[in-house]
Amino acid sequence: MKFGKMKSHRRNRLLLVLFLVATVGGATTFTLLALNENINLFYSPAQINAGEAPINRRIRAGGMVREGSVKRSTSDLGVSFIISDLKNAQVTVEFEGILPDLFREGQGVITLGELNSDGVFIAEEVLAKHDENYMPPEVADVIADAHGEGQYSSGSYEATPEDEMPEMKKVEGI
């Protein structure tokens, strides 16, 4: 059957299928590209110390905030602190802004930002959970890895509500 003589509903169906394939294909490509550019890998202090983390790329780093390491600027909102795996590895984090309510020395935090060439982590976001007994699983892993398995676990807290949003996020909407 020639294309020109194709029955109209068949032609419609063909057009529809082509349209669907093009749309879905385009959307998939676009989506995967966007996904690829926007994933943030997690690195532990030990990995950062060992030079495994890329420089000047958005990554996440996490660990325990070392007691007595929080230093504030006296003129602006600048703050620096050290995250560690409770063993040898430690990384200095610099941040400018308001720390979350549950940021405290001796607790687990996750930071999002870039590592500079001096090995200092420049954070644009600091996340701390609003549950006291909670340790972010990444941080729990970091510490477990540093101390051998099984000493710490992230699963020791009770279900927090349907808390629709954690206070740890602070990104403007769409």
């Binding site: 749309t23 959307a27 890998l41 892993d141 509500p161 954690p166």
Partner: protein, 648 residues
């Protein structure tokens, strides 16, 4: 004793749900009217016992019965009474009891308001809903029992409710959300029931529509309230975070929106029938998937949920059973469903198809972003990642922009075929007017012209103008509630677009260090910190700052943001203070004291931010308005006739 009563009522409810799942089904197979008739009364009993159970838990909270573990973990004797009550659904176990209660409420509603639905069909639908209840209630009893006691050694006082949840928003938000999630069980059950009969007709779609609209409207209210709550309660001034839990509620909403539109086409024109059935199944599946993601702990890296592996496993098995089973049934039965009508590319059918396609693609994109950390971890042997909001914004915004373009035209197109001349004639005046108005208003408000913002505003105004024209042409007398509801919901979306775009492009915000007497100027508003003092709340003490905000030497508002210290749980919480306005919000939140009586302070001026939630509520209102449509009530009678006589 009361918790034991509650527990016992829950066990009885499990028995009743089993009966509801099995007895009417046997009735259908054997064509025994008595068994089929039993469905309604069992549904009523199920609801009563779950309600009883719920009230027992409520009583345990109000009476401070800390021997009940769940109460001890989520309440405290100093907690104000309204939060003791809302703490019932403040954490996992109780919120799931609410979920099951609402499920039985919808079941009872179907049993009561399905007047015309014939006996056979009604028995099938209620049996499916009963089976779902069996799953929910056994999950409650075996994996998350809220009535568990910690006798004989129980704490003298409770650990307190998370301060973030001690808020009006949390009292209302979860019930609304669950009404939506669980409400989608109704179109789901009807789809399953219809598949078992093997006959889908227009009456089926007509019967599904009001239920779908109602569930969807509740979900819309729930999501809108959640966004509003996050805005004022979390102290960041953000209103959408692309957090896994938000996505869990957003995906069923997107699918539900697709379902509403495809049901319209199925009812009016008999097209997309089997697609609509698939959507009905998927929408509820996404509700369940949301529950799984939120409660199983698989996404702990982004959020705090229950991390009991049995819970996750239980929901996963239930999920596989429900979704897998229904898709299997669909695979076997759907081939028999034929859609006859033909239509052209510029018809309303085609536009609804594009609407559905885009909504499904948007859902898939959100799903991918939500599950990708999990996939990645599995594929790379434990490597952890997070997917940031930039991904969602980059993918989601273009898709919905296309969707809005279709939304401009679709309501004014015709079934079967729309003359292109007509479209052009209808649209060009508004296409000229919309950007003109957008630019004028932007300039009048003294804001910079940002072309993407103007483009999106144009789109929103274009939608609004055309809807207003419809209303105007009908001389404000639209008789069909469905149509009026559509106008309202679409206008709500347009309002929300305006809100989002203006907020995103024209908000100003700064984190600053301020000492008493300091003044910071933002968007022409002068924020002056007068001082910080201690105040005592019912179960917290707070540092309260006093800000005077002036514009051109005129006092606009006095704001008193607080930093609260909840003594029981040793929690610190930021309580922002907001001067709300139709055209702008002034937002002040206290960070932390940083020496020399200075404080870290977050200041925002957010124009039009309220339009997002007004828009959302208008969208929901539209959904509720459609329920008044007289057609739905009359036509349920015909469903009975049409479905009657279908072989079992």
């Amino acid at each position: 004793m009361i918790p034991e009563f509650g527990h016992f009522a829950l066990i009885l409810a499990l028995g009743l749900s089993l009966a509801l799942a099995v007895l009417p089904a046997i009735g259908v197979v054997r064509q025994e009217t008595l068994l089929m008739h039993s469905a309604s009364s069992i549904a009523a009993g199920l609801f009563v016992f779950l309600l009883l159970s719920f009230f027992c838990l409520l009583t345990a909270f109000v009476q401070d019965d800390f021997s009940v573990t769940y109460v001890a973990n989520n309440s405290n004797s100093a907690l104000p009474i309204q939060y003791k009550a809302s703490a019932v659904w403040g954490a996992h176990e109780g919120s799931f009891l609410l979920w099951a209660l609402i499920m039985s409420g919808w079941t009872l509603a179907v049993a009561t308001f399905s007047g015309g639905l014939n006996l056979d069909m009604k028995a099938r639908v209620l049996s499916v809903m009963g089976a779902l209840s069996v799953g929910f209630i056994s999950y409650l009893l075996f994996a998350s029992n809220p009535f568990e006691r910690s006798l004989p050694f129980y704490p003298p006082d409770g650990a307190d409710l998370n301060p973030l949840l001690q808020d009006f928003g949390l009292i209302v938000h979860p019930p609304m959300l669950y009404m939506g999630y669980v409400g989608f069980a109704v179109p789901f059950s009807l789809a399953i029931a219809t598949l078992t009969t093997g006959r889908l007709d227009a009456a089926w779609a007509r019967w599904s529509r009001p239920w779908t609209n109602a569930a969807w409207a509740f979900l819309t209210v729930g999501i809108t309230l959640g966004s509003w709550w996050a805005y004022y309660e979390l102290g960041w001034g953000g209103w959408w975070f692309w957090d896994a839990v938000e996505n869990a509620s957003f995906m069923p909403w997107l699918m539900g929106t697709a379902l509403i539109h495809s049901l319209a086409a199925s009812e009016k024109r008999g097209v997309f029938k089997s697609w609509t059935v698939l959507l009905a199944i998927s929408t509820f599946s996404f509700s369940l998937l949301g529950a799984f993601l939120v409660r199983s702990g698989v996404l702990t890296s982004v959020h705090a949920f229950a991390v009991d592996p049995t819970r996750g496993l239980f929901i996963l098995i239930f999920l596989v059973f429900v979704i897998g089973g229904s898709l299997l049934l669909y695979a076997f039965k759907a081939s028999g469903i034929k859609s006859q009508a033909s239509y052209q590319w510029n018809s309303r059918e085609a536009m609804l198809l594009v609407n559905n396609l885009l909504l499904v693609v948007a859902t898939a994109a959100v799903l991918l972003g939500t599950l990708y950390p999990l996939l990645y971890e599995v594929l790379t042997d434990g490597r952890k990642i997070s997917v940031g909001p930039p991904y969602f914004n980059r993918v989601f915004v273009p898709i919905v922009t296309l969707l809005f373009l279709v939304m401009v035209v679709a309501p004014h197109s015709r079934w079967k075929k729309t003359s292109s001349n007509l479209l052009v004639r209808q649209h060009w005046p508004y296409l000229v007017a919309a950007p003109f108005v957008a630019i004028t208003i932007t300039l009048m408000m003294g804001l910079a012209l940002q072309w993407i913002a103007i483009g999106m505003e144009t789109l929103a105004l274009w939608i609004l103008f055309l809807l207003a024209r419809k209303w105007w042409l009908s001389e404000f007398r639209i008789s069909s509630a469905s149509y009026l509801g559509m106008l309202a919901s679409h206008s709500g979306i347009a309002m929300a677009i305006l809100g989002v775009v203006v907020t995103v492009y024209y908000s100003e915000g700064r984190d600053v260090r301020m000492a008493p007497g300091d003044v910071v100027t933002l968007s022409g508003y002068e924020f002056r910190l007068e001082g910080v003092s201690r105040v005592q709340g019912p179960n917290y003490v707070a540092d309260q700052a006093e800000f005077h905000i002036t514009k051109s030497d005129k006092e606009i508002a006095v704001l008193r943001p607080e930093k609260r210290y909840y003594s029981v749980a040793q929690n610190v919480m930021t309580e922002a203070d907001i001067d709300p306005g139709l055209f702008r919000d002034l937002y002040v939140a206290l960070g932390e004291p940083i020496g020399d009586s200075a404080w870290a302070v977050r200041l925002h001026v957010k124009p039009f931010v309220r339009w997002i939630w007004f828009g959302g509520l208008l969208v929901a209102l539209g959904g509720f308005i459609t329920l008044l449509d007289r057609r739905y009530r009359r036509i349920t009678k015909t469903v009975g006739k049409l479905v009657a006589g279908v072989p079992a």
